[in-house]
């Protein structure tokens, strides 16, 4: 397997609880993968292992040729190539939008302030929020905050973007503005791994759908196959529940 992200026989335990079971997944550069499944199925845990916010207990995780181990400097270098967007935005509340965006480029890439700010404004324009650059996160709506969080991750020029339920904390009317930005990003060729329940987004954007249950990958298929004819009973049940409304 030689994708940009490779997981080989990854296992993860929380005490006695087996959170990830023999996960094999290879993601090619430019690929968009949507991970779905019932809550507690290990979706978030899996993508959080990719930038080592969680440590796996066995197996191998290789990101852009670098294997994740206890080596702190390697972990940091992987994190610099992998952007992440969280369910709860996690913007730094004591910094303005612009400061949120320039912090890591200035500290990690040692970019001069002006250069970092120019890049930040470019990304803020892309997520259609450049007029809020000098506001604080608490002055923005949830949808705006999440778009800032996406721009913040993009400022590091990541090779891969991880999305951990990016719309789950949003009011319904703000979901589409975030999904629109994610769709734009997909069109531009970004490698994306998204944990989400937004099946419309999955259908239109994903190259592959990974369905997880109970810490295992149960099914991997194209969106058209997955939605038209899920191969497993568990996937059928899940789709039945999620599409019922």
């Amino acid at each position: 397997m030689t994708g940009i992200v490779d997981l080989e026989q990854v296992n993860k335990f929380y005490g006695d609880y087996h959170a990830l079971r023999n996960i094999d997944l290879s993601i090619a550069k430019g690929e968009k993968v949507v991970v779905c499944g019932p809550s507690g199925s290990g979706k978030s845990t899996m993508i959080r292992c990719i930038n080592r916010l969680e440590e796996h207990d066995s197996g191998r995780i290789i990101v852009d040729g670098k294997e994740l181990t206890d080596d702190e400097s390697k972990i940091e270098s992987v994190r610099r190539e992998v952007g992440m967007v969280f369910q709860s935005f996690n913007l730094f509340p004591h910094m303005t939008v612009l400061q949120n965006l320039t912090l890591a480029p200035r500290l990690v890439h040692k970019k001069p302030r002006g250069e970092a700010e120019d890049a930040a404004m470019k990304y803020l324009t892309r997520v259609r929020i450049h007029d809020q650059a000098n506001k604080y996160p608490s002055q923005l709506s949830g949808g705006q905050q999440q778009r800032v969080a996406i721009a913040r991750a993009l400022c590091m020029n990541p090779e891969v973007m991880l999305f951990d339920e990016p719309t789950s904390a949003l009011d319904p009317e703000m979901i589409s503005e975030v999904l629109d930005v994610m769709t734009d990003l997909a069109r531009e060729g970004m490698t994306m791994i998204c944990v989400t329940h937004e099946m419309g987004f999955a259908r239109s954007v994903a190259d592959r759908i990974v369905f997880m249950d109970n810490g295992e990958i149960i099914e991997t298929s194209t969106p058209s196959d997955f939605f038209a004819a899920p191969r497993t009973e568990r996937a059928r049940t899940f789709l039945g529940q999620i599409l019922a409304h």
Binding site: E72, R80, S138, A149, M156
Partner: protein, 230 residues
Amino acid sequence: MSFDFALIATSLPKILQGLGLTLNLLVVSTLLGLLLAVGILLMRLSRRAWLVWPAKAYIYFFRGTPLLVQLFIIYYGLPQFGLLRHSFLWPFLREPYWCSVLALSLNTAAYVSEILRGGVLGVDKGLIEAGKALGLTKFQRASRITAPLAVRLALPAYSNEIVSMLKSTALASTVTLMEMTGVARTIVADTFAPYEIFIAATIIYLVLVWIIQTAFTLVEGYANQYVRKG
């Protein structure tokens, strides 16, 4: 018994002669205590048991015994050690001023390190994860994310500690220092009018506390302007 308002008025300026020393003790001990507190905090937050346990023991000792007793141990107890009397520290430790500063600093450091630890524990874990995900080093996360937010969370409790410190400086009068309470006690010895004199001292302490509280309210309001809690 007659109450002499004029005596309050005439003793106020005399007691104010001790104001400089009171403020001096407060500022010097608070700053030294804060430096020490940060060191103890880092030990306490460490994952290494040999750093954590001394910090815990320190905090337990200085929070668990009266400040007055700590002051007496330093002032009366330390000179018992011949070694100390011949060391370079002796010029300091034979001075009641430095004994008071030492006792106040050591004591407040224990409280402040716990106040700051409360702030650190209150910082949203998600923000630290965001810092990790951006590739920030441990030191960068601590200095740019954890510390500024922890300080904001700790401000209300820290203002309490400063007020408490102001009142604790009065204990320095027990080792002969002529700060405000020391001056007040001297005047009482001359006038035999403890009621009026200590009321005069009370007024000054209350004014100082009001200034401290107001200053902290302003700082808190400014620092937390955009930082929502929870």
